[in-house]
């Protein structure tokens, strides 16, 4: 049976989650992928570029959502762009490994409790998962319509100038389905599968 997890998530709940657990997430979360992670790290964490335009206002708006919250690696198909009555039509996860250079720092800076994506992440993120603590939730890649059904409302959007897929969408979800594949105890299903499949590969092409 899947575990019901409400956002924001406490450290106790995060630590109780184990690799292999199926979860249903409910609450408010934000989307963020390549452009957002680079922008957050450059502007507010490494500070290699000064804030400009609405940067500071957006930062203040998303900070409470990330504190105890999760970031969803997703570039949705959104209807209602002309009327601003936004509705997610298709909203599956994107490949998370591209955020590997940034994710751990984002978790630490915002006290974020996890990321949702697909394909898993690497050692830097796994390390941050143990420190913060946080976990990696794996959603089913390509199951875009099914996941969009769990998005009950679009509460707002920031940085739409990044483009629809790259913007920060604030969404309310109910029973968003995912599987924990990296936990706060240093376990990663992706690392296990990589290791096991390498052993087979070495036999197939010695």
């Amino acid at each position: 049976m899947p575990v019901q997890v409400n956002l924001p998530i406490s450290d106790d709940v995060i630590r109780s989650l184990q690799v292999g657990d199926s979860v249903l997430l409910s609450g408010v979360m934000i989307t963020g992928r390549d452009a957002v992670h680079k922008w957050l790290v450059d502007t507010f964490i490494k500070k290699t570029r000064p804030p400009a335009g609405d940067d500071l206002a957006v930062y203040e708006a998303i900070r409470p959502l990330l504190n105890g919250g999760v970031i969803y690696h997703c570039g949705p198909v959104v209807a209602g762009l002309d009327t601003k009555e936004y509705r997610f039509v298709a909203a599956g996860p994107t490949t998370s490994i591209r955020e590997e250079p940034y994710q751990g720092d984002v978790f630490r800076h915002f006290n974020a409790k996890g990321a949702i994506g697909k394909g898993g992440m690497g050692p830097k993120t796994l390390q941050a998962c143990q420190e913060v603590p946080a976990v990696y939730f794996h959603a089913i890649g390509g199951a875009a319509a099914l996941i969009a059904e769990s998005v009950k409302r679009v509460l707002g959007v920031y940085k739409l100038d990044f483009g629809v897929p790259e913007a920060i969408w604030v969404i309310e979800v109910k029973d968003f389905p995912a599987v924990v594949t990296m936990d706060a105890h240093g376990n990663s299903l992706h690392e296990t599968v990589r290791r096991q499949s390498k052993a087979v590969l070495d036999q197939l092409i010695p």
Partner: protein
């Protein structure tokens, strides 16, 4: 030449929302092979539910509606220039209707054009004049996750002990599948091109993916290698989404093209499970889709 914009719009809608039956059949068979209660079986169950849902609701199977890649075969008398205009108009309209996500990003400014129209390579359109009087337009929507795990090898490759023969090809393909893990939305399908130059080899590897999942390569040697690669890729145990499991690759399609004496490329285009490709056939006034 008649205006086919609305028929092309239907091709885009159909491709984005309705997974081809041969692909779905392969996914159903894969589902049966996974152990009851496993994460792999759960992933495939979700995938199959999603496929049914998008067909019913006419919404995109995946939010990454990918690069629209058109393969157009036109009889004498059609104008490729006007077909291009109509294809672009259909793509922009499909984006407005949420059948496609706006996906064309300026590589320098980072700006998304908002309508899937970029420079002359976006959408990608391949034209070929053919005999007869039938126009066919095939559309493949290939998402970024699987496109990113595509790979090209230049043989010989010492680290893989891959020489310039089919055993070398086998080694390169298995290496690419292992490197991809679940990142290309496994279980995937492999389009493999042997030969060509770097550019033509990638195009040929995508064209190989236009073949039906359950066909047999007319070349017996390549047919045998296709079967062997699918089977060995599955032995890796990567499984759906990289969760571990039986189904990592559901089909391999290999094509061989001529090469320079100095070059021997092996190019792998990895296609995600959301293997979206459809065809529109125009003969006279009649337009059909498959």
């Amino acid at each position: 030449m008649r205006d086919l914009t609305s028929e092309l719009l239907e091709l885009v809608r159909f491709t984005s929302t309705n997974l081809p039956p041969d692909v779905e059949k392969a996914l159903r068979a894969a589902y049966e092979r996974e152990a009851p209660g496993s994460a792999a079986r759960g992933a495939l169950e979700t995938i199959l539910k999603n496929v049914e849902m998008t067909r019913r609701n006419s919404t995109p199977i995946c939010q990454d509606t990918g690069t629209p890649i058109f393969f157009v075969r036109y009889p004498e008398g059609y104008s490729p220039r006007r077909l291009r205009e109509q294809i672009k108009a259909a793509v922009a309209e499909a984006t407005k209707k949420s059948y496609l996500r706006p996906n064309a990003v300026d590589s320098l400014s980072g700006k998304n054009t908002g309508n899937n129209l970029g420079d002359e390579h976006f959408p990608t359109i391949h034209f070929e004049e053919t005999d007869g009087d039938t126009l066919t337009v095939e559309l493949m929507l290939k998402g970024g996750g699987c496109e990113n795990v595509g790979a090209q090898y230049s043989l010989p490759d010492n680290t893989l002990k891959a020489g310039r023969d089919l055993e070398g090809v086998r080694r390169a393909v298995l290496d690419a599948v292992w490197k991809a893990q679940g990142e290309g939305c496994a279980p995937g399908f492999l389009g493999v091109s042997i030969g060509g130059d770097r550019g033509s080899s990638y195009v040929a590897s995508k064209e190989a993916l236009l073949r039906p999942v359950d066909d047999t390569n007319p070349d017996p040697e390549l047919a045998a290698l296709e079967n062997r690669l699918t089977q060995e890729a599955n032995q890796l145990g990567i499984g759906p989404m990289g969760f571990g499991g039986e189904a990592s690759v559901l089909g391999t399609k290999i094509t061989a093209t001529h090469r320079l004496p100095a070059s021997f490329f092996v190019t792998i285009s990895y296609m995600c499970w959301a293997y979206r490709r459809r065809k529109m056939i125009v003969t006279g006034d009649q337009v059909t889709y498959e």
